[in-house]
């Protein structure tokens, strides 16, 4: 197998495994539309820089930052606008507290990521720590504060 074919095969294998996790993380953090576009953008960047990516210890975490940065940069430059969290349309979803999507949108990116991935997708705090590039204890803080803020916003007690 040629070097090029090996590179292609290794990236294909990586992308198959990384795409669902990357997509979910970016969509939980930034909403569906921005998250999906950022996922595609990050994967494209990862393919183009696969030589570099193979040398990183945490390629999914790296690509998450690439996607996040792309969102911030694109939305901040042309209109010099701040990052928008795209609210989620509740239509077609099971009944949930009506204020939950808005309450989630008011969490910080890290809090939303911790709350959404732990309670929504069953990720471990270590897995989220890898994506964010922080210690697991930091994720726990984001999770606790995020849940506390949700309870406060929604008027429920622990």
């Amino acid at each position: 197998m040629s070097v090029e074919a090996t590179q292609t095969a290794s990236f294909t294998s990586f992308a198959r495994a990384a795409e669902p996790r990357l997509r979910r993380a970016l969509c939980v953090a930034f909403g569906r539309d921005l998250g999906l576009e950022a996922t595609a953008e990050a994967l494209a960047w990862g393919w183009e820089h696969w030589d570099r990516m193979q040398q990183t210890e945490n390629p999914i975490g790296y690509l998450y930052r690439v996607g996040r940065s792309r969102i911030r940069r694109e939305w901040a430059w042309r209109s010099r606008r701040a990052v928008l969290f795209d609210p989620v349309d509740q239509s077609g979803m099971p009944w949930v507290e009506p204020g939950l999507p808005a309450a989630l949108a008011r969490l910080s990116e890290q809090q939303r990521l911790a709350v959404g991935l732990v309670h929504g997708y069953g990720w471990t705090q270590q897995e989220i720590a890898d994506v964010l590039g922080v210690a697991p204890g930091t994720v726990k803080n984001h999770l606790d504060r995020g849940m506390e803020k949700l309870r406060s916003t929604l008027g429920v007690r622990a």
Partner: protein, 471 residues
């Protein structure tokens, strides 16, 4: 209750996950088409779409495609890394941006720019602001010049390069374009986000932005006014005045209609969007314009988004996903589905000149009827223009990774030549951005930024170029 909340989160995200379509070729192609039609900033530039599409094809077809590529010996996708990756080192790695493709001129084009760029008739001087800023929009007003932009106040180096994690609105003023001073810090410091445009009108300067109050995730529009460029006051209610059916963006402001007109758009959960217009006599009290011609169609996914507005003898012209006209700012008519990347008004004739992504130039005397010209200066996603008599200078940029290009027309936009000046050739690893440009007599001032060309290229420093017209 905690268990119930956790159960609701699980149910909510389970349903949410069903809406997250995996990355597929068809979806990427759809994004590209929408961007071309909308005529605005592409989150996915062409090279990314192509590369991501290729990745998706690989994922979908797996070994079949791999086998094909192996058999043909075709290289995967040309990578552009010129130096090895870094880990924690400062951002000295140089990555050449992927080669971009320019849209070929249509066959109907009969006159094209001269083959060899002509020497610039302008002598340039570069002014470094010395602050992390992304350029910004420039207007003549206040003490001389006013730039509305944003300043980065929190940087993140965790991925071995500069990423602006948090910015706030900022305004700079200058009497000579050489010495710049930031003003209004006390007014802007309580907000996150940035200013998108500024205009001079009957009651002074009006700056618009898309901001969030400190600590809140939601972004909404806001307006500040200033009689002199030095003192800035916010009159609009950030939470209520500029709110549409979804997240709302204020794109452009101009003096026109009853005094001032702001255009933008909202996005209804990503399904469709509506153009948004507000008017004001004095910049302090704003009225939202309710007009059916501004609405998109949720049934068809029709997009209605305004990205800019100009005022000419024929009234107001707004452009974006379509073209709209209004004689007074209150009644709007959607007159064309042309997607312009910039529109300017000839000070001599009052006619409108519009530019498209593919480099077409369209003209109109009333904003309603548009005629394609044979000229073909440049294709760019964003175009800014400045007039000096019948001389029209055009700056365009298609992607953040591309350096802007400048074009000059000496005959009201009929023919064009590219200005190839060393002042706009960035050093390796950097790329320039142009925010806006204005002529003041024979002095041309360009607001912009000097940025890291790598992806993500967030390390931007505010720059102004001062050009002296030599003819």
């Amino acid at each position: 209750m905690t268990t119930e909340l956790e159960a609701q989160l699980r149910d909510y995200f389970e349903a949410f996950d069903e809406t997250l379509t995996p990355i597929v070729v068809e979806e990427l192609a759809s994004h590209g088409e929408r961007s071309r039609i909308a005529g605005r900033t592409r989150l996915l530039p062409g090279w990314a779409v192509a590369a991501a599409a290729f990745v998706a094809v690989l994922i979908l077809t797996g070994g079949v495609l791999l086998l094909l590529r192996m058999n043909t010996g075709e290289p995967p996708v040309a990578t552009s890394i010129t130096t090895p990756p870094t880990t924690a080192a400062p951002p000295t790695t140089t990555i050449t941006p992927p080669a971009t493709t320019s849209t070929a001129p249509p066959e109907t084009t009969t006159t094209s720019p001269s083959a060899a760029p002509e020497p610039a008739p302008i002598t340039w001087q570069r002014i470094d602001w010395g602050v992390p800023s992304e350029g910004g929009n420039l207007v003549i007003g206040g003490p001389g010049y006013v730039v509305a932009s944003a300043i980065c106040r929190k940087a993140d180096w965790s991925i071995d390069r500069f990423v602006c994690e948090d910015s706030r609105p900022a305004v700079w003023v200058s009497s000579d374009a050489v010495t710049w001073e930031e003003v209004g810090q006390d007014t802007f410091v309580g907000y996150a986000g940035g200013l998108s445009d500024v205009a001079t009108g009957p009651d002074g300067l009006v700056a618009i932005g898309n901001v969030a109050r400190e600590g809140l995730a939601f972004t909404s529009g806001a307006v500040w006014t200033s009689p002199d460029g030095a003192e800035w006051t916010q009159f609009s209610d950030v939470d209520r005045t500029f709110v549409g059916a979804g997240p709302t963006i204020l794109e452009s402001v101009t003096a026109g209609g009853p005094g001032y007109v702001i255009v933008g758009w909202d996005n209804v959960y990503g399904e469709n969007s509506n153009a948004m217009v507000w008017t004001s006599e004095d910049g302090r009290t704003w009225t939202h314009v309710d007009d059916d011609d501004l609405l998109g169609d949720p049934d068809t996914g029709d997009i209605a988004e305004m990205y800019g507005v100009v005022s000419g003898d024929g009234g107001l012209v707004a452009w974006g996903s379509s073209v709209w006209v209004s004689s007074d700012g209150f009644d709007w008519e959607r007159v064309s589905e042309l997607a312009f990347s910039g529109v300017t008004v000839s000070p001599a004739t009052g006619s409108f000149l519009a530019f498209t992504h593919s480099g077409e130039v369209w003209t109109s005397t009333d904003g309603r009827t548009w005629n394609a010209t044979a000229a073909h200066p440049l294709g760019a996603a964003w175009v800014e223009a400045a007039w000096n008599g019948s001389n029209l200078l055009l700056a365009g940029q298609s992607d953040l990774a591309d350096n802007p290009t400048l074009w000059l027309s000496r005959d009201e936009g009929a023919t064009w030549s590219e200005l190839d000046d060393p002042a706009f050739e960035p050093p390796e690893g950097r790329v320039f951005r142009i925010g806006n440009l204005e002529f003041q007599g024979n002095t041309l001032v360009v607001s912009g930024a000097d940025c890291d060309s790598r992806i993500p290229e967030d390390d931007c420093q505010g720059v102004a170029w001062i050009g002296t017209w030599n003819e």
